[in-house]
């Protein structure tokens, strides 16, 4: 069973996949029993519509007519929203791209002390919510924080007499997002290097290319789809962020939507802004597709090549170490240190019972949502494999719309739909019928927001399974479901686990939707952090903040173990010493 490469590739195409391939393959073998296939097709289409409905409800509302607010926005702040959002997405995408690509290459190809630890440490910022890193660094770098205090006490200068980079700014946001979101790029690029480059790089070296040329002419082009997918993920994450940009006073589409909707009291104009944001997202997706180019890369061989890592001179080893240690420091260790310091300084620790309850709620939500997300993703992507027509593919894309939409917008979409469903339900059954404000409402919002992560993962896992296996199964008389269960599912284990973990971590960190639609007396870790921080009690929020990171670490560690073992046969001759 070819499970080694699975994780690495599953992430390679985390956004969408090579439908073309799937279609070509399956069009040859549509001998499946029509009933199952069409059930699946209908189910997938309905599911996609349901998942996308909160986004669609919001996106439709511009057609309800305007109230003059749009003209006001266009004259005053719209330009600012567009400029900041685009700069934030592009800046964070590029920053994370450089960091992710550079560290992935260094860890994969070079031998230096500490490499093995850094390989998985580099994933840790995944467990750090963006709003937390924003709180922590503001506390640290603000004029009243320890860094500037120290600076003032050394130089004797007063505040305002010297220039200090302002952390609460667009630049600050781009800087922090780059350092906390780069693991997406790292994860994908590293997988791609491990998977694809080895033989090619071997060849390139045999042909006398220098290391730098190998990197530029072989590794980068091969990693391009992974790099593009990673950057697109980062760009969309930063577009959807509310907590950090709000705290940094950077006006983006997200903060604009919130302000227009609730402050100006204009849901219509807010929906128009959301539609604008959707436009930006579509642009990101198109750019990502374009940058992948027309090339398709396939594995031509399963031959595992033992490629010893390049040795480095002493100085370069130190450089490589720092290159990989700095992102971990900035994206994880320093903010955790700040939080620990703040928590102990406050002398405030919530009672263990309370914290365990919040953590339990967080874990229940994250687990439930990730299981659902994987099941739904399986349904959607398996449908694309069995019924490879444009409708199936569109269904998968539509179900992925929610990723870059701010959680608060999705939450309101969910509330509108469930409110309508509740009213209809009550009318039909003449009995109080209630979905709003239940856990079901929360799961609905999470699925809408994060399904794309699991779809991308499962889709690419499926497309890599050779159709000849399906054909063999059919020849032996198995139906599509039995093939799924007996052939595909065992081969998809790594993809499934990766999809589960990615969604788990995201839901754990999710704040705005949870805050709006959670049931009574149901606080999660993220909610509790928000309550303290929004009430200007940063120190009191530090203890639950540490806990959310702790809970998020477990899946991240599993993920990194999976990566590490994805090529168990790799021989690291030089490694025994380190």
């Amino acid at each position: 069973m070819n499970s080694e490469g699975e994780l690495s590739q599953e992430v390679t195409v985390a956004k969408g996949g090579s439908e073309e391939i799937a279609s070509r393959r399956s069009s040859k073998n549509c001998s499946s029993g029509p009933p199952t296939k069409w059930f699946l097709f209908a189910g997938a289409c309905l599911l996609a519509l349901a998942v996308a409905s909160p986004v669609l409800v919001i996106a439709m509302s511009p057609f309800l007519g305007g109230d003059g607010t749009w003209a006001h926005l266009r004259e005053t702040v719209l330009g600012l929203y567009i400029r900041n959002s685009v700069l934030l997405a592009v800046g964070s995408g590029l920053g994370a791209g450089v960091i992710g690509l550079g560290t992935a290459w260094t860890v994969t190809m070079y031998q230096f002390p500490g490499r093995r630890i850094l390989e998985w440490l580099l994933l840790l910022p995944l467990a750090m919510p963006t709003y937390l890193i924003a709180y922590a660094y503001t506390d640290f770098l603000d004029f009243s924080g320890p860094v500037q205090e120290l600076f003032r006490s050394i130089t004797g200068l007063e505040a305002g007499d010297y220039w200090f980079p302002e952390i609460r700014s667009l630049g600050g946001a781009i800087f922090l997002f780059s350092f906390v979101l780069y693991p997406y790029v790292y994860l994908l690029c590293r997988a791609s290097f491990l998977e694809q480059s080895v033989c090619m790089l071997d060849a390139s070296r045999t042909m006398g290319q220098s290391r730098r040329e190998s990197f530029r002419r072989v590794a980068i082009p091969l990693a391009r789809p992974a790099l593009a997918a990673g950057i697109a993920l980062v760009a969309m994450e930063s577009l959807a962020d509310y907590g950090a940009v709000d705290y940094f006073a950077v006006d983006t589409f997200t903060t604009g939507i919130y302000r227009t909707w609730f402050g100006l009291g204009s849901p219509v104009a807010a929906a128009q802004l959301s539609a604008g944001l959707l436009g930006v997202i579509v642009l990101v997706v198109i750019l990502e597709r374009l940058s992948r180019g027309k090339k398709r890369f396939f594995h031509t061989t399963n031959r595992r090549q033992c490629l010893p890592r390049w040795k480095l001179s002493m100085v370069k080893q130190v450089v490589a170490f720092f290159l990989c240690a700095v992102p971990v420091l900035i994206g994880f260790l320093i903010p955790v240190g700040i939080l620990i310091e703040a928590a102990s300084g406050a002398g405030f620790f919530p009672s263990l019972v309370d914290s365990l309850e919040w953590a339990w709620h967080s874990v229940v939500l994250a687990t439930g949502a990730s299981v659902l997300a994987v099941l739904f993703a399986l349904l959607l992507s398996y449908n694309v494999r069995l019924t490879p027509n444009p409708v199936s593919r569109t269904a998968s894309r539509i179900a992925s719309l929610g990723y870059a939409i701010p959680g608060s917008v999705i939450a309101v979409g969910v509330l509108l739909i469930l409110g309508w469903a509740d009213r209809t339900g009550s009318a039909l059954f003449s009995h109080s019928f209630f979905l709003s404000g239940t856990l079901a409402a929360l799961f609905f919002a999470y699925i809408t927001r994060f399904l794309t992560l699991s779809i991308g993962t499962m889709e690419s896992g499926l497309t890599r399974i050779s159709p000849s296996l399906d054909q063999a199964g059919r020849t032996l008389g198995s139906g599509p479901l039995s093939i799924l269960r007996r052939i595909h599912f065992p081969m998809l284990r790594a993809s499934t686990l990766a999809a589960l973990l990615l969604v788990f971590v995201e839901v754990l960190k999710e704040l705005p939707a949870t805050l709006i639609i959670r049931p009574f007396n149901f606080d999660t870790l993220a909610v509790h952090i928000y309550q303290q921080a929004s009430d200007e009690r940063f120190a009191e929020s530090a203890a639950p903040a540490l806990m959310i990171i702790l809970v998020g670490l477990a899946p991240v560690l599993i993920l990194s173990r999976m990566m590490a073992s994805s090529r168990p046969d790799r021989v690291d001759s030089a490694e025994s010493g380190s």
Partner: protein, 337 residues
């Protein structure tokens, strides 16, 4: 699957509307004393308080979307603007209660008894003792003078407290003058609006600017803190209540308030809860917990606030709230982010 055994009962439980003695509260308050308050109510009446807290405007959207099925009995906000918005959305039902009318002065409740103020918060001026003579300070309006260039600190206009402050000015002086004031303030900003109210006060102490506008209780919190850093801030900064002169209106006061949600599943419990909120006992807990001023004149004022005496602006909260969208448009126009 094992997960099923956990999830299905949880889903069912939260979906069922249980018939026990309880009251469902959607609240924008999340201050330390609030839990104590709910416990005191349960102890007194045996009615359990179920809570969802979050941003006021988002909770209001939730009530609206849930419609007549909403489980909410009481909706509580931290700002008059949101009370007004809820009233406009037809979310509140009137409450006939002698107790409430007797306990809460008329300016802090809705004329039609749709909502009731619970606590008051003053939006005051804070100044650096070593760089500003309190004699120089007078009104909010005077802060737009040229002598204050590059010296004023205040947070973003996305914050409801600023929206309500400008809403009050619109009510008193009209949109044009209010816009001139906002534009004048922007001219005098020491930095781009950012951070929160406590952040403005700390910035004054650190010398980033000389005066700040913030809610009084954030300063009271610093006064009560044991942290030497906070004490240092209190040493360097003092509070000033503006617009105290004849004909100047008074210091802007915002309210935290609550109302009965229309179609509430537990209306009787909800009214009991509202009456409890207005009682001297609950008022003391509320005020103590967050160093706010109680609305009930009979309730005990927290010790830390005893030195804070000032004339309050009497513009009704409902008018301030009605000006909220106009406030934001003005902020957008003058570039107060």
């Amino acid at each position: 699957m094992k997960l099923k055994t956990i999830f299905i009962p949880t889903l069912l439980l939260s979906a069922l509307v249980l018939e026990a003695a309880e009251v469902n509260l959607y609240t924008a308050r999340h201050y330390p004393g609030d839990d104590e308050l709910y416990e005191a109510f349960e102890e007194q009446t045996g009615i359990e308080v179920n809570v969802v807290d979050g941003k006021g405007d988002a909770l209001l959207e939730r009530i609206k979307a849930e419609g007549e099925n909403s489980p909410a009995d009481v909706f509580m906000t931290v700002d008059a603007g949101r009370l007004w918005a809820a009233e406009q959305a037809g979310v509140f039902a009137p409450v006939e209660s002698e107790v409430l009318i007797a306990s809460i002065p008329a300016e802090f409740r809705d004329p039609e008894n749709l909502w009731f103020g619970v606590t008051k918060r003053a939006r005051a001026i804070f100044y650096a003792k070593d760089r500003v003579d309190p004699e120089e300070l007078s009104t909010y309006q005077a802060l737009t003078g040229p002598e204050w260039e590059d010296r004023i600190l205040i947070r973003s206009s996305s914050n409801v407290y600023n929206q309500s402050l400008l809403g009050m000015m619109i009510a008193e002086q009209g949109s044009e003058e209010a816009q001139d004031w906002a534009a004048g303030m922007v001219e005098n900003f020491a930095r781009k609006p950012q951070s929160n109210d406590t952040g403005q006060i700390r910035a004054v102490a650190a010398g980033l600017g000389d005066v700040a506008i913030a809610n009084h209780y954030y300063f009271a919190r610093l006064m009560l803190s044991d942290d030497p850093e906070d004490q240092e801030v209190v040493e360097k900064v003092a509070i000033f209540f503006p617009n105290q002169g004849e004909g100047e209106g008074g210091t802007h006061v915002n309210i935290s308030g609550a109302g009965l949600v229309k179609g509430a599943p537990h209306p009787e419990e909800a009214i009991l809860f509202l009456e409890f909120l207005a009682s001297p006992e609950a008022q003391a807990i509320l005020a103590q917990g967050n160093a706010e001023f109680p609305v009930n004149p009979e309730a005990e004022v927290p010790e830390v606030l005893e030195s804070f005496e000032f004339v309050e602006d009497k513009t009704p909260a409902s008018e301030i709230g009605a000006n909220n969208p106009e406030s934001i448009r003005i902020f957008d126009r003058v570039g107060w982010r």
